[in-house]
């Protein structure tokens, strides 16, 4: 297929995934901000939401403080933020329209009607209920797109590029949320597993929709290292880095089989996946430090994105 078409599909998937992630981040931040200060401590949940969405630097260029309304507007609607939910879906739709024939009818309808639905919301009038409705519409649109791709698309190279976009974006997002939240929530010098409140830890899991999964897997109260274990190393957890890389290697292998050729993308993905598979969470905490581990992972993930772009998309 044309490199440009593959590129459009790859980014279409990334933007849909990003919109969904951002909606969940806002949702979780809203929830935490609603808990009484005595439970929530001193941390600024809105600043952490910006950081988790990778938008803190850009936000600070135009704002002095991270106030609730300004953050929500920036993450959900802003034209200045290329990763705001509306911009993401707009770009996704634009890519979809440009590659209309590479999408199935159901996929196009999902992205097109999702976009049309969301266009009706007026960012000037975002009361609590309207925002809730907006966020759930975003999640619905993304689920519908993902579901129609899963159900209707030919399992050919186009499907592989779409899925690669999904998992690269998801891995990046999970790593960021974990990194940012972990450090913002953990006060300087506080012992890990100390007196931090349930609400704060659960907010990490909520932003990746994994609170219930945690209980099913660990049958324990929330422990920071178990949260990290779930989101980094647990293969069964679809948001985890390990699961994302299991899928990334699988779809890259499918491509190399279809094209009869391997390249740097396959090698990079496999080496990251191997490293994840061979890690245990205690080592990550004790030897490297979670922050260092995640920083390196995000850089590796970007390296894989660049390798895929270089090998297939240009």
């Amino acid at each position: 297929m044309l490199s440009r078409t593959a590129d459009s599909l790859f980014w279409l998937a990334r933007y849909v995934e990003r919109a969904d992630n951002t909606a969940r981040i806002i949702d979780a931040a809203r929830r935490l901000a609603a808990t009484p200060m005595s439970f929530a401590g001193e941390s600024n949940e809105w600043e952490s939401a910006l950081a988790a969405a990778g938008a803190l630097v850009l936000f600070n260029q135009g704002h002095a403080t991270a106030e609730r309304d300004a953050v929500i507007d920036f993450l959900a609607f802003s034209r200045d933020n290329p990763s705001s939910i509306t911009r993401c879906l707009e770009t996704a739709r634009h890519n979809g329209r440009a590659e209309r024939t590479a999408l199935t009818g159901d996929m196009w309808e999902a992205i097109n009607s999702g976009w049309l639905d969301l266009k009706r919301f007026d960012r000037q009038h975002m009361d609590r209920d309207t925002l809730t409705e907006f966020l759930s519409k975003v999640k619905e649109a993304c689920l519908r797109f993902d579901g129609s791709a899963y159900r209707t698309m030919l399992r050919n190279d186009a499907y592989c590029f779409l899925r690669l976009g999904v998992y690269l974006e998801r891995a990046d997002s999970t790593a960021r949320i974990l990194d940012v939240k972990y450090h913002l929530l953990l006060p300087e010098g506080a012992p890990i597993g100390g007196g931090l409140d349930y609400f704060q830890w659960s907010s990490i899991l909520r932003s990746v929709s994994s609170l219930t999964a945690y209980h099913w897997v660990y049958h324990e109260s929330l422990k920071p290292w178990l949260i990290a274990d779930l989101l980094v190393l647990n293969n069964e957890m679809p948001r985890s880095l390990a699961s994302c890389y299991e899928n990334l290697t699988m779809f890259l292998d499918q491509l190399s089989q279809a094209y009869g050729r391997q390249g740097p993308a396959q090698r990079v993905a496999r080496s990251i996946y191997t490293r994840l598979s061979n890690s245990v969470i205690d080592d990550i905490f004790q030897k490297r430090g979670l922050h260092e581990f995640l920083t390196e992972f995000i850089a590796d993930n970007n390296r894989l994105s660049a390798a895929i772009t270089e090998q297939y998309l240009t």
Partner: protein
């Protein structure tokens, strides 16, 4: 001026071929038509058939109004028209091969040399370059109108990058979904084979050096182009890649496209990009839509461009007036289709006639298209006419004038009910190296405003399905 009504002889009696339509319209309540029209609109929106209007940024995506009442041609009428279209297409291809070759028609004094050589669409780069089968205009969208029950008049030959065929195909698709019964009781000539015929035409024109199964691609300016929907529609139906300039590269005079499996050679480009933008090394240097080096590959005979470069000189409105001469010169036959009598303002006698009769004439820019730059004298106010007269005086050679034709009307479902509206017809003529292919019918455009003669979609025109009926 009473226009020819294609359906009715008088209030009660309809013409042959239209009997079923009369019965159908009489037995179908307006509410049903309204509902069907709404369904059609929904279908078009869902399929995503939209177009952009120049200078209207807010309306990025509109759909063209669709009329649910079909326009009918009998088999006999169509045969006559098709023969004429074929004759015209052959003559235009012969003309282009000649002016980029030995220029016999100019030597014979049948057409002024400067009209050809100083024409903005004449491409000196094409001189002496031989094309497979001498085919230049692989796809022509020849606009014709009727003024009575016998004759067709050609308005424009559209030999560059004619559009609209996706509407022809989708209109039929929608009609078959809305009114399956009408298709069951009438013998309506099918048109859905058009993409196949187009592909066969393109393949027949592949370079001699191309492999047995040449690779075809559709070249588009991109999603911001008003006809982008059609480009992607056609690529999809042809089963070929839809490429933009940035997907292509020229290496050693060979055109390749960038694919996920590496560079792949392209043999035939159905290009929907104007000459000016094709190759920044040869034409407009600021074009980012084209492919640097494309013309070198073309001149090396390694790629077929459809349509060829430089065909605009054949559909120029001033050259248009010479087409009857062109037909006689190359084919030794009388033209089957009529030309609209044309005053060329470049000729002083014609200029003064035009200026004196502006209120009766349609004046067009020689190089205009899409309904822009047109003065419809009888419909324009004095102020508009005077302003236009100044433009004509400033550059007479840029204008031609024609009498306002009483375009035929076809029954159309409008707000006030079923009423006659003016229509034209754009059949698509495919010229391959093996033969000429025309699917029966074409795109009927209808001017929805009462009395309006402008059918262009950019100016508020709509479309209809066109049925060639076997009696």
């Amino acid at each position: 001026m009473v226009a020819f009504n294609e359906m009715f002889v008088d209030e009660r009696v309809c013409r042959p071929g239209y009997e079923f339509l009369q019965r159908w319209l009489e037995s179908t309540p307006p509410a049903v038509l309204t509902q069907r029209r709404a369904e059609a609109e929904l279908l078009f929106r869902r399929i995503g058939i939209t177009f952009a209007v120049r200078g209207d940024a807010a309306a990025e995506e509109r759909i063209i109004p669709f009329d649910v009442i079909p326009r009918v041609l009998t088999r006999g009428e169509w045969q006559h028209l098709a023969t004429g279209l074929e004759q015209r297409a052959v003559a235009l291809n012969r003309f282009l091969a000649d002016i980029y070759g030995n220029a016999e028609i100019i030597a014979a004094g049948k057409i002024p040399a400067d009209l050809v050589y100083r024409n903005p669409y004449f491409r000196p780069e094409m001189a002496g370059h031989k094309l497979p089968g001498d085919i230049y205009v692989h796809v022509a969208g020849i606009d014709v109108v009727r003024v009575d029950d016998r004759d067709f008049y050609v308005l424009e030959d559209n030999a560059r990058v004619p559009s609209g065929v996706s509407y022809m195909l989708e209109n039929r698709e929608v009609m078959m979904r809305l009114f399956p019964d009408l298709f069951a009781i009438n013998r309506i000539a099918p048109i859905e084979q058009y993409p196949e015929e187009l592909l066969a035409t393109l393949l027949s024109a592949a370079p001699r050096a191309a492999p047995d199964e040449p690779t075809v691609a559709v070249l588009t300016p991109g999603p911001f182009n008003s006809a982008y929907y059609e480009h992607s529609f056609l690529a999809d139906k042809l089963g070929v890649e839809l490429v933009e300039g940035r997907d292509l590269r020229v290496r050693d005079d060979v055109v390749v496209m960038r694919t996920t499996e590496g560079p792949k050679r392209v043999d035939v480009l159905y290009r929907r990009l104007d000459d000016d933008f094709l190759d920044p090394l040869v034409f407009r240097p600021d074009s980012i839509l084209g492919v640097p080096g494309l013309m070198n590959a073309y001149r090396a005979g390694n790629i077929t461009l459809a349509n060829a470069v430089g065909t605009g000189v054949a559909d120029d409105k001033a050259v248009y007036s010479y087409v009857p001469e062109i037909v006689r010169f190359y084919l030794g036959e009388e033209p089957i289709l009529n030309n609209v009598p044309t005053w060329r303002c470049r000729e002083p006698a014609a200029l003064s006639h035009v200026l004196a009769h502006l209120d009766e004439l349609v004046v067009k820019e020689v190089a205009g298209s899409g309904g822009y730059g047109i003065l419809i004298g009888p419909a324009a106010g004095k102020k508009t006419r005077d302003a236009f007269a100044d433009r004509i005086r400033a550059d007479p050679a840029n204008f031609i004038a024609q009498p306002t034709l009483a375009l035929s009307t076809s029954p159309t479902f409008v707000d006030s009910g079923i009423a006659p509206r003016h229509v034209d017809l754009r059949p698509f003529v495919l010229s391959g190296c093996d033969k000429i292919r025309i699917v029966p019918g074409g795109l009927t455009r209808v001017a929805l405003g009462e009395g309006s003669l402008v059918v262009n979609s950019s100016q508020g025109g709509g479309t209809k399905d066109t049925w060639v009926l076997d009696a």
